[in-house]
């Protein structure tokens, strides 16, 4: 059944979509390298500088300027390729991709076209239920980023309706590695999930190489999602015998969550059109986070004539085979393997580990354990309470205002009996609100458990006095009734009493 979204596009019910159609998707992920300088010049890449203060004749595209390749960028590209199981091209040229756009200083992008540095790899992606899906990688290549525009005069700074734009070229020329999957088939109803899992796994892999911050919210990792639908095969027909449908490309997919939502939305939108007998327009679409829809952008034509030709200002990149092998030796443990080892070290069950991974908490737990917490406690906090908070606020775990060291401190306060679990949650609240370290919050808010027998004893006496009948029952031997007195004390103490000690004191007085 179709419904109509805010933007007027019809969407088909997801169940109907997957019943009638077979989705095929592809992802193009751009990774911004964390090199000190740009791809083709020595300008700094430090984030947040004043506009147009990290530019030079080369990255500004001034007449006469020439590019020179950043050696570290090549190395990073090769390492990414190796980590993805790709073959490294022994001889390849950069190419010019020619098109006009104000944020492109030369009106061509120096990129790689038919000779990318890495080809034919794969990434095995672990899904929520523990199954693995292999995504084939077509290629990874080097290119340069564009400048950034501020659109003035339109609604909410968008390009549509803007009167003019202001361009900052600090970002122009920063090295990008573009990683392109082969068309991914066979994910069926799990397509959105697989898409998200792939981007997550890729992020983790690249992060483990130390070549990029890969933070989608900061733009150091960007994702474009391509999607097409074809009818489900009928009878004896093999699904792959059914020709691929027309695909759309969706840009502005800025978070892992958006990847999943955007892919899912496009499936439903395209299915609604196909079901109504309408064609899919081959175009670039834009993901709109607020409405959860995609909107039409520029018509995408495979005949977008970029007039590629080999970059005459650069010479070919021909990585020495021995050097490539040496780089292979520098690759860190693959994340999946590392996760299995950590699970074993920490003694978690498969389910516990998976929850951890899905919450994106693995490194955080690792750091928390390194700071002295027991693995189980670290896990409890990160994939429990903190994951809940992150979810509610719509942010990644790593973005919360609490560090692994602080969580370890919190765990140790609980372990020592200084606070209990209930109090710990309040302490955590305080830490997240920026009130200081757990220790500081405990003191400032007075959340420590009272273990002073004098104070506790007085409270116990008050409870006994106020609940004479219950007290008598206990004297008579009904020890179980102590619970009510303990409860009363706890209530008076606002939970900040060591319940076990309170029990002892009650029983001491009454038995």
């Amino acid at each position: 059944m179709t419904t109509t979204t805010q933007v007027g596009d019809e969407v088909l019910d997801y169940d109907d979509v997957v019943r009638d159609f077979d989705p095929v998707f592809g992802l193009e992920v751009h990774v911004e390298l964390s090199t000190a300088t740009k791809m083709f010049c020595g300008c700094s890449t430090v984030f947040g500088a004043d506009p147009n203060t990290q530019v030079c004749p080369v990255c500004l595209g001034l007449p006469g300027a020439l590019p020179v390749v950043n050696a570290t960028a090549v190395e990073s590209a090769i390492r990414i390729g190796l980590a993805l199981g790709c073959s490294i091209t022994p001889w390849g040229r950069f190419a010019r991709k020619n098109y006009f756009y104000p944020d492109m200083p030369k009106n061509f992008q120096t990129s790689q076209y038919d000779e990318p540095i890495a080809v034919d790899g794969h990434l095995d992606v672990e899904l929520d239920d523990g199954t693995t899906f292999r995504v084939e990688i077509e290629r990874a290549h080097m290119e340069e980023d564009t400048g950034k525009s501020l659109h003035i005069g339109g609604a909410t700074g968008r390009i549509h309706g803007a009167e003019y734009s202001l361009v900052d070229y600090n970002r122009a020329g920063i090295p990008l590695i573009e990683i392109v999957t082969k068309p991914v088939r066979g994910a069926g109803e799990r397509t959105p999930e697989v898409a998200r899992a792939y981007v997550t796994a890729l992020r983790d892999l690249v992060r483990s190489l130390g070549v990029s911050d890969v933070r989608m919210e900061q733009g150091s990792m960007r994702c474009d999602a391509n999607l097409s639908l074809r009818p489900r095969a009928t009878g004896d027909q093999a699904q792959d015998a059914v020709p691929l449908g027309t695909r759309t490309e969706t840009k502005n997919v800025n978070s892992l969550r958006s990847v999943e939502r955007a892919v899912r939305y496009e499936m439903c939108r395209q299915a609604a059109r196909l079901q109504a007998g309408l064609p899919i327009v081959q175009e670039t679409r834009h993901w709109q986070e607020d409405s959860g829809t995609t909107t039409s952008g520029r018509p995408k034509s495979d005949a977008d004539d970029y007039r590629y030709f080999p970059e005459p200002d650069l010479v070919p990149v021909a990585p020495d085979a021995a050097w490539v092998e040496q780089l292979r030796g520098t690759l860190p443990e693959p994340p999946a393997q590392r996760r299995r080892r950590l699970q074993s070290d920490w003694g978690f069950t498969d389910l516990e580990m998976r929850d951890l991974v899905n919450a994106g908490a693995t490194e955080l737990v690792e750091a928390t354990v390194a700071a002295g917490a027991a693995p189980s406690a670290a896990r409890k906090w990160w994939s429990g309470e903190l994951a809940r908070v992150a979810n509610a606020e719509g942010v990644e775990l790593g973005e919360l205002a609490v560090t692994p060291v602080q969580v370890a401190e919190l765990a140790s306060l609980v372990a020592s009996g200084r606070i209990n679990d209930t109090l710990a949650r309040q302490v955590l609240e305080g830490v997240l609100a920026g009130e200081g370290s757990p220790q500081q919050v405990v003191e400032a808010r007075g959340l420590g458990i009272v273990s002073d027998d004098g104070a506790l004893g007085a409270a116990v006496d008050r409870a006994i006095e106020a609940n004479a009948a219950i007290a008598q029952k206990i004297r008579d031997g009904k020890v179980a009734a102590a619970g009510a007195l303990i409860g009363a004390v706890m209530k008076e103490m606002r939970g900040q009493a060591d319940a076990a000690r309170v029990r002892e004191l009650v029983l001491e007085r009454l038995t």
């Binding site: 020595g42 001889w91 952008g297 990149v317």
Partner: protein, 98 residues
């Protein structure tokens, strides 16, 4: 070898972001047809097994270390700008999102 029509030239001028009047397009089409006749000769050469040459010298692997070097100040960068604002290059409204 196909002749270039005015429409062909108009399409190319569009790709190259150069405005041209119909007269100019016609004139260009005529001149280009002549030139194309001449350059077409390259097709006469049997070169199927010949590698293309984009550089006279077989240099490879020219790179630079990942070390910052001083560039331009914002003033220098913006000095030639037809228009600027907030230390950025001011450009007319951009029609299409990339």
């Amino acid at each position: 070898m196909s002749a270039l029509t005015r429409d062909d030239v108009a399409h190319l001028a569009g790709l190259a972001r150069i405005d041209a009047t119909d007269d100019e397009l016609d004139r260009l089409a005529g001149q280009l047809a002549q030139i194309l006749d001449a350059v077409d000769r390259v097709g006469e050469v049997a070169a199927a097994d010949v590698p293309p040459m984009s550089h006279p010298l077989p240099l490879t692997n020219v790179t630079r270390p990942d070390e910052p070097r001083p560039g331009l100040t914002a003033d220098e960068a913006l000095a030639g700008a037809p228009a600027s604002e907030l230390q950025r290059f001011s450009v007319p409204r951009i029609l299409e999102e990339d």
